[in-house]
Symmetry: none
Subunit: 403 residues, 2 copies
């Protein structure tokens, strides 16, 4: 990947008061149905006008052909090499339910499950207990398990049988096997350390499983817990340190707030709708030099395979673009984290269109904000991780590299 090394980025960034606004439309890019993509079918006069006044292009979330999860695709948009900084399942699940992780925390996904008297897993999901029942159980466990071997235990309930547990203490290590046989009819297993350095963590994790199982004895069908995806927050440098910006994140979904928190953004409280999000940024526009503004809807419609729904979601966003432009950031970028074409009903590998609106861009011939128009835009096709340096440059937040 064409990535300018982090240490050199750090050495050229400078603090200024100029403002960058990065709008991420989740699942933005699409594929044609009857010859036209969702962006091509939509009536998007405001985005089109902005595209015509900007430089446009395509960005690959990770690398050509690679379909990203939300973790790597956002890290890349935040300017971090998504191959170097990988986020494990447990950590992603924890940030997804809104837990505030600290460096060194060890997170895992958990299931309430049913075992028989011999310890064989008969139901990995404990009959898909209700979310309310799950919350009761998590509260009960949390009340009685504060620490294991001096390590703090933090339990957060999820939907149905799912929960997240975070272990907070010194010297924890993610080198652990899943404490989950993955299949019914097999014995519930404890976690095993994959190397010497993870021994203590295995002991803590298994101590938690044993204690939780004891406490759950009176509560069939949830009479044990299965843990998997043990992972720790990677040691990611802070955006403030690396890019010399105070960054604020506005996102209605917890996972994106969590990802933003991992790179040191401040999370701004907001509501469920894009209008709420716009109110939030208006109220905090003086407080930051960088804003991550996340819009979820198009991805949901794409995942549902709802082409017209995705078109409508994009058209709705378009009507709000003037409000965003009115904020007059020095640099405004609009793009997606990954494509979610309705005909695939899932994330895909296709690059996303991007608009960069700034005083210092070379505008191009693009007059519509579509995948195909942006493919011939002035930016060309670049990896997403390159976007932040371009935005910082346009905000005059970077010195010369070398003499």
């Amino acid at each position: 990947m064409t990535i300018f090394p982090e240490d050199l980025i750090r050495s050229v960034t400078v603090e200024t008061s100029s403002k960058i606004l990065l709008v991420v439309i989740d699942g933005l890019g699409g594929l044609p149905v009857d010859g036209r993509t969702e962006l091509e079918v939509g009536s998007l006069p405001n985005l089109d006008r902005l595209a015509s006044q900007s430089i446009c292009g395509l960005i690959d979330p990770i690398a050509p052909g690679i379909t990203p999860g939300s973790g790597p695709s956002h890290l890349a948009l935040f300017g971090y090499d998504p191959v170097r900084y990988q986020i494990g399942r447990g950590v992603l699940e924890a940030v997804g339910v809104g837990m505030d992780l600290e460096k060194g925390d060890l997170a895992a996904r958990g299931n309430f499950a049913t075992v028989d008297s011999k310890g064989t897993v008969v139901d990995r999901r404990a009959g898909r207990i209700s979310t309310e029942r799950n919350q009761q159980l998590c509260r009960a466990l949390q009340k009685q398990i504060e620490t294991i071997e001096g390590v703090r235990v933090i339990i957060e309930s999820g939907r149905e049988h799912r929960f997240v547990v975070v272990f907070r203490g010194d010297d924890l290590n993610e080198g652990l096997t899943d404490a989950d046989p993955q299949k019914e009819g097999k014995k519930a297993a404890l976690s095993v350390a994959l190397h010497e350095g993870a021994r203590r963590s295995a002991s803590v994790v298994n101590g938690f499983i044993k204690r939780a199982t004891e406490l759950l004895q009176g509560h069939p069908p949830s009479n044990t817990v299965l843990l998997r995806g043990f992972s720790q927050v990677p040691d990611i440098p802070n955006m403030r340190d690396l890019f010399k910006i105070r960054a604020g994140a506005i996102a209605s979904y917890p996972m994106y707030r969590g990802l933003a928190r991992l790179v040191g953004m401040e999370i701004l409280e907001t509501g469920e709708t894009v209008e709420d999000e716009i109110n939030t940024i208006m109220n905090h526009f003086e407080d930051f030099e960088f804003f991550f503004f996340h819009i979820k809807e198009p991805d949901i419609k794409g995942e549902d395979g709802d082409f017209q729904g995705k078109v409508a979601a994009l058209e709705k966003i378009d009507t709000l673009i003037p409000e965003i432009v009115k904020l007059e950031p020095d640099v405004l970028a609009i793009t997606g984290d990954h494509s979610t074409p309705s005909i695939l009903g899932s994330h895909s590998w296709h690059p996303n269109p991007v608009i960069i609106f700034s005083k210092y861009v070379r505008t191009d011939s693009v007059v519509r904000f579509t995948e195909r128009e942006c493919a011939i835009g002035g930016l060309g096709r670049i990896p997403a991780v390159n976007l932040i340096p371009i935005l910082l440059a346009n905000a005059l937040k970077m010195k010369k590299f070398g003499a």
Copy 2:
């Protein structure tokens, strides 16, 4: 270069029954004469139609400005980093004459040569003996030299004074100097180990040279052998393991079959013509998920500096495109390994046009399969090594990276 790491590729590829057909037109790209390139002068209605229904772009064989040999250009097209996996001259020569190399084999190029009574090389090519004479000598040497120090010796004749020798045994090492003074008037030299680990190999190789020289004493002007380009097959992961595909190779020239064999493709027996090759793929279309289909002719005409000949070769290929399309692979890609512009009469550094035809591409405005039209195609300009991930993605053979 934007290369997604191999271990991560391996972790996201999945086995499916979908089929990918990669057509490599050797020496495809050209340069203008009187304003138009070979592709622009040619009448290529079938390729043009396919381009108009596909996404197009340009691929750099290795990196901008770098002219590749056939080894690195094909490794890149097969999805391998051509800088990481380098193929030495001896190995390339061995696969070029159709030898089937095994891991650990040590290969070298050889010349029959003439030395005087003092061991000074007076003719590095032994008067360019005939190919028939060469074959006689190789047979005679092979008959009398089966092993040296327990290492198997395999000799294969080439054209005129050239041959290839492969040493097969344990603990061989390519860290050897050439046993060839390169110039006439210098003493014939033995090979020297470049480090401790190559000592045994030097002894084996020099044992072979001495024994061959003894046996050749009665056969002037070929009274010794010179060996150079000692190299071993790099430890390349198998395409099946890395990409989860059974790959079949169809190529009329041995070198391309040999390169395909190095990455674990199965070699399908075929004839001399493109029609023969098409029959071969038809007969084996059920047996593989990936096909490498190599067409040599345009490169030969380009190397000959024969502009019109290259145009004619491309027009001939165009007439066969409908037969290839009729196979209905899920993903069809057509490109070149490197450009061979007739006005240069050699391989060049220019990127090659590429067509990707699949249900999941964003078609673009390209309506002609030419270098200049493809330069504004929707794919942009990407390194050749990125092609395989894109083809795998389009065949839905890759899972999401990261959560």
